[in-house]
């Protein structure tokens, strides 16, 4: 543990903890909409932003936020139209995003391949003080939106048509959610990399919902699991010199496996204990069979 006495390790730890907290808080809305993989696509688009930043010697984080926000708004507009051709449009956007990013990064003089890898797969150990400030501010924005607007975002993700009839500002909320997704991608970029961003949004949520009954409980447990996976993962990476981003994601997947096995064992035990007296109001029988 003495490694965490170093400044760079403390910054790495803080950075991944912010990611572990913010990514599932946003990811739960994407999972609820059955759009779990959208975060991955936005991550692809963000790479073009990184490339633009490196090429123009601006902060890659700022350009990534702007470009991925534009990408996320485009995705939302495609989703809103609900066209069958939306699939192809998304493919064009996502692969255009990642190849544009690789292309621009290669153009940026003096930037080596190692730099590209840092954005694709994360590089928490090189997190600077400035990076950390940006991550904390953006992470705070993500948490503020996802926690304070939870009832409204839940309503539009749960039943968008009903929310529209109820007079909620559905379009504005959808666009806000899209932009917040882009911000989350940028926050997580440093910690786990653009290719693994979606994992931190989705895996803790998938693990939490194995053992929860409600939305709020799932959200809170997913955030706890995200933070725990980040802390354990960065510790393993430091002790055994493994790739930090990948280690964090593998720890989260391990948590999913443990909870899935535990839930299965618990259900079996409950069934053995007797299904009788369990679930209150059952469906009334439609016919009575006489022997």
């Amino acid at each position: 543990m003495s490694l965490f006495a170093y400044d760079f390790m403390q910054r790495a730890l803080l950075g991944v903890l912010i990611t572990g907290l913010a990514a599932p808080a946003l990811g739960i809305y994407l999972v609820q909409r059955r759009m779990a993989l959208i975060g991955d696509g936005i991550g692809h688009v963000a790479l073009t932003g990184v490339g633009l930043g490196l090429l123009t010697s601006r902060s890659p984080v700022i350009t990534a936020v702007v470009v991925s926000a534009l990408g996320a708004v485009a995705v939302e507009l495609i989703r809103e139209r609900g066209k069958a051709s939306g699939d192809i449009a998304l493919a064009l956007l996502f692969y255009g995003g990642i190849s544009g990013g690789v292309f621009l990064v290669a153009l940026a003089a003096g930037k080596t391949n190692a730099n590209l890898m840092a954005y694709l797969f994360g590089s928490p150990l090189t997190t600077s003080r400035d990076d950390l400030v940006v991550m904390a501010v953006l992470g705070g924005v993500v948490l503020a939106v996802t926690l304070l607007l939870r009832p409204w975002l839940f309503a539009i993700c749960q039943d968008e048509e009903y929310a529209r009839v109820a007079g909620l500002p559905v379009r504005a909320l959808n666009l806000l959610l899209a932009v917040t997704t882009a911000v989350t991608v940028t926050v997580a970029m440093r910690a786990v990399g653009l290719l693994l961003v979606s994992a931190m949004m989705v895996v803790p949520v998938a693990a939490a919902q194995l053992v929860t009954r409600g939305f709020r409980a799932t959200m809170h447990l997913a955030m706890v699991l995200g933070v725990a996976a980040a802390a354990v993962g960065i510790w393993i990476a430091a002790e055994y010199d493994t790739a930090p981003g990948a280690t964090i994601v593998l720890v989260a997947i391990a948590a999913f496996a443990v909870l899935a096995a535990g839930a299965a064992v618990w259900r079996t035990a409950r069934r053995r204990a007797g299904a009788a007296g369990g679930d209150g109001e059952a469906e009334p029988p439609e016919v009575v069979l006489q022997a």
């Binding site: 839940f154 309503a155 109001e281």
Partner: protein, 256 residues
């Protein structure tokens, strides 16, 4: 008697296919109006047009006496409780009955305002009205179809609406849920509120309905007392199978 819904010469089309061909419908406060008709007759489209979910190609719509098109009606939609046919598809994450019902309250609650005592009371009484008070913390995904339907009715009631709009509320619902639902509706109507419902068959709701509107091929074929079932329809054991409406072109590719 004040007018709650007034649709004049309403025309709705999906692509080039007309679904409503100049429909006039007026609903007054305190009425319980059932919209009847075969599959494809346009009955669901009619209530979707009233709810603003599909645009009118022509005609005028006024709700609660406010007769402007588009955005200005939004304030009036808040006074409407909508009960769709089934729970929305977007439920990849578990949600409790109380969580779903509480979304009905958001129409009355300002943005970013925390839930108050009035909100909690409205949610509790909506759950009690449909007989689901003891299931508030159950995940909706584990409920029967009838209980899920009652959850959606509780969600609409939580908004304390003046008009309740229901799309096939009794379709595929078990007998126990049907009667719980009829009780909830009876209490709602007793408070002087208005109901507009689409139904295939009325079942236990029949005594509540004050007026029936029968749609046929996108036009109103009957507007008045509930038609008495005739022929084999009057047989309580009749097998309820309906052919699709005539002139129902193969519109599956141009549908909504």
């Amino acid at each position: 008697m004040s007018t709650v819904v007034e649709l004049r010469d309403g025309v709705v089309a999906y692509g080039d296919r007309p679904v409503l061909r100049g429909v006039d419908l007026t609903v007054h406060a305190g009425e319980v109006v059932a919209i009847l008709g075969a599959n494809g007759s346009g009955k669901s489209t009619l209530i979707r047009a009233i709810l603003g979910l599909v645009p009118l190609v022509s005609g005028t719509l006024s709700l609660f006496g406010v007769s402007r098109r588009g955005r200005e009606l939004r304030g009036q939609w808040r006074r409407i409780g909508y009960v769709p046919q089934r729970l929305g598809a977007g439920s990849g994450v578990p949600a409790t009955v109380a969580e779903v019902v509480s979304t009905g309250r958001l129409a009355r609650r300002g943005m970013l305002r925390p839930a108050g005592a009035a909100d909690r009371a409205a949610i509790a009484s909506a759950l009690a009205a449909v007989g689901l008070a003891d299931r508030a913390t159950a995940p909706v995904g584990t409920l029967s179809g009838g209980q899920q339907q009652r959850t959606l009715i509780a969600r609409a009631l939580a908004a304390e609406p003046e008009l309740l709009v229901l799309d096939e509320p009794t379709a595929g619902v078990d007998a126990r849920s049907q009667s719980a639902f009829a009780d909830a509706l009876r209490a709602f109507v007793a408070g002087g509120s208005t109901v507009l419902l689409v139904a295939h068959e009325l079942g236990p709701l029949q005594p509540l309905v004050t007026r029936a509107v029968v749609l046929h091929d996108g036009a109103i074929a009957h507007d008045g007392p509930v038609p008495v079932p005739a022929g084999h329809h009057a047989d309580p054991h009749h097998d309820h199978v309906h052919p699709h409406a005539p002139h129902d072109p193969p519109g599956i590719w141009t549908g909504p």
